[in-house]
Amino acid sequence: MRGLGWFLAALGALLLTVGVSAAVVLGPDSRFTTGPHPVDTSGTVVLTQPGVIGWRGLQVDVLVEVPADKPVFVGLGNSVDVTDYVAETQRLEVTSFQRPWDITTETVDGRPGLPGAPTALDWWIAGSAGLGGASISVTLPDETTSLAVVAVGATNLSGLEVTLAYGPRGGFAASLGVALLGAGVLLAGVVVLRGGAVTAGDEDDDLEVVEEIVYVVVDEHGVEREISAAEAEALGLVEDAEGDDEPVGTQAAPARMLDDDPERASRGGSDDGSLDGVLPDEPTPGPVDDPAPSVAPTSSVTTAPLVEEDVVYVVVDEDGVEREISTAELADYDLEEYELVDEDEESPR
């Protein structure tokens, strides 16, 4: 258990650190942003060679800007389409890209114009055109793609600037999620470690039961109070407070251990130590408006009320009718013979 606890704590701390760090780095927009970066070209096309974009699932935002409100198009397409589209056109090809912005380029000769307007093509995965600038926001698909910036019409891309932002879609939220997950795992590890201190060595993961004897007495008003073992012993409620775990009351009635009943235990406290006996199985009703204590512990501590053994005298008259009489009436009768009948017997008293 302790090993698992340490593992969870370490893993949780790691996830928490990673999640928080990623959230801080990405920011609420989940993007790393770089630019604007100038691209030196006077041609009509700039594109990335196949393989330069080597990621999938990455959210990419591209903003291209050209001066003088020149019309410009930016698009992402399958490299099969893009390379065929610009195959005959003079262009600047980006041959490598390193984050955050380190590119190498290569100029390829060709015709000045393109075979068609980029906006008329249907195979762009994402594309946008605008005057002076255009932008796309796209999640990179699992295919070889190329990014192309195309001058629309009879213009060129001189003065081109590119701003790039990229990051996992929903990365900030995911980072927070990882951080929360880490916190949870860390907390779970701590809980396991703390639980392991109590239950160390228990391979079955069961809690060890620590028995604690709580002595509770109920005063004459029916109020439960908890008393210490010494007090109980002083009251003669305990035969051997040290050596015997079984609570001993003043009578044979069983005392209840309340360690599993905190509500009841909380009700048993007493400031003055006034005692009425050990808590019987059933609560003893009593007045609540008279807090004066009593130190007559014997009567209420028994489950079977302690009463003077009463004798019932029964006479049978001349008609054979059985009749109960009192002790006082007994003198009026001349009892020459009588029969003692035990109450446990089924015969009439």
Partner: protein, 317 residues
């Protein structure tokens, strides 16, 4: 119970991993020719343009949806209808695209195969649409009609794309698509020609030979017919390892007519559209034919299971 945290953690990490960007390891160029949505758009445009051409009784709009032999053949057909002032209401019937097959390509041209049913004419066509370049539109380039008893074979697919066959690939079949096309053209030109390929009998060959015999029987008229197979560019692998090839054939019928004779064709024939007054000297009628050739795996002879063709021009008269 003690495994629950680990299970939850593992699940959370796996779910998170699915959304995390990953570096691609496969950088090969490639794409499936067209997505289903693109194919739907192609057919929608095709139907719209054909409907326009039919209503105008003009072949001019056809050039934006079809090309090469199909355009030539259909143009001839439209010109005949135009000359005869005959409408062709069947062209307005919708076509039902029953199945499409899209190969994967690393470069242009791209093409895909579609099996369509023309309920108006009660024929099934196996069509090929091609995009020659990224800036070009999708154009119909082949549309042979299957013969009545033909059963189209299932095509082999890999990674969601139908498998293409190179024109010179004879693996499993013993004869390549190009060789079969060349041999078929040779046999059409001369039934006695010695070719490496033995073909199953088909109605198209019989029809062509019968027509040639009729022309040769014209009294005093010299007749010569030639056939030539074009480069096979569209062939796919069948599921059993055979090849389904789209073969384009060029045919020319040359007539040497004496001075006092005129050769004419029936009023509603496509030939009449090209030679309204008939031939009174020497002239040649040009035809294009497209055949759908199934080259089975093993020793079975290749057979033609579909055909589409017609007059595309005339010269020398």
């Amino acid at each position: 119970m003690r495994r629950l945290p680990l299970v939850l953690l593992t699940t959370a990490l796996l779910v998170a991993a699915c959304t995390v960007p990953q570096q691609r390891t496969d950088e090969t160029l490639g794409k499936v020719a067209a997505t289903p949505q693109e194919i739907d758009a192609v057919f929608e445009r095709y139907a719209t343009v054909r409907d326009t051409a039919a209503r105008l009784l003009s072949p001019n709009p056809l050039s934006i949806i079809q090309t090469e032999a199909v355009l030539d053949i259909e143009t001839g057909s439209f010109e005949m209808a135009q000359r005869l002032a005959a409408s062709d209401p069947e062209r307005d019937d919708p076509i039902d695209v029953q199945r499409t097959y899209t190969p994967r390509f690393g470069s242009y041209p791209l093409w895909f195969v579609a099996v369509v049913r023309d309920e108006g004419r009660e024929v099934t066509r196996v069509q090929v649409f091609e995009r020659a370049a990224a800036a070009d539109p999708w154009l119909l380039i082949a549309t042979p009609e299957t013969v009545l008893d033909a059963e189209l074979p299932d095509l082999r697919e890999r990674d969601g794309a139908v498998v293409r066959v190179a024109a010179d690939d004879d693996a499993g079949t013993g004869v390549s698509a190009q060789q079969a096309a060349d041999d078929y053209a040779a046999l059409l030109a001369d039934p006695e020609a010695e070719v490496a390929t033995t073909f199953a009998e088909d109605g198209f060959v019989e029809q062509v030979r019968a027509a040639a015999e009729q022309n040769r029987a014209l009294e005093g008229v010299g007749f010569e017919q030639t056939w030539e197979a074009q480069e096979v560019r569209h062939a796919v692998r069948t599921s059993d390892g055979g090849t389904l090839a789209f073969v384009d054939l060029s045919r020319s019928d040359t007539y040497d007519v004496p001075d006092d004779v005129t050769v004419t064709w029936p009023e509603d024939s496509p030939q009449r559209a090209f030679i309204p007054e008939g031939l009174s000297t020497t002239g040649t009628l040009l035809y294009r034919h497209q055949v759908l050739m199934l080259i089975p795996v093993g020793d079975e002879p290749p057979r033609v299971i579909g055909q589409f063709g017609g007059v595309v021009g005339a010269e020398g008269f």
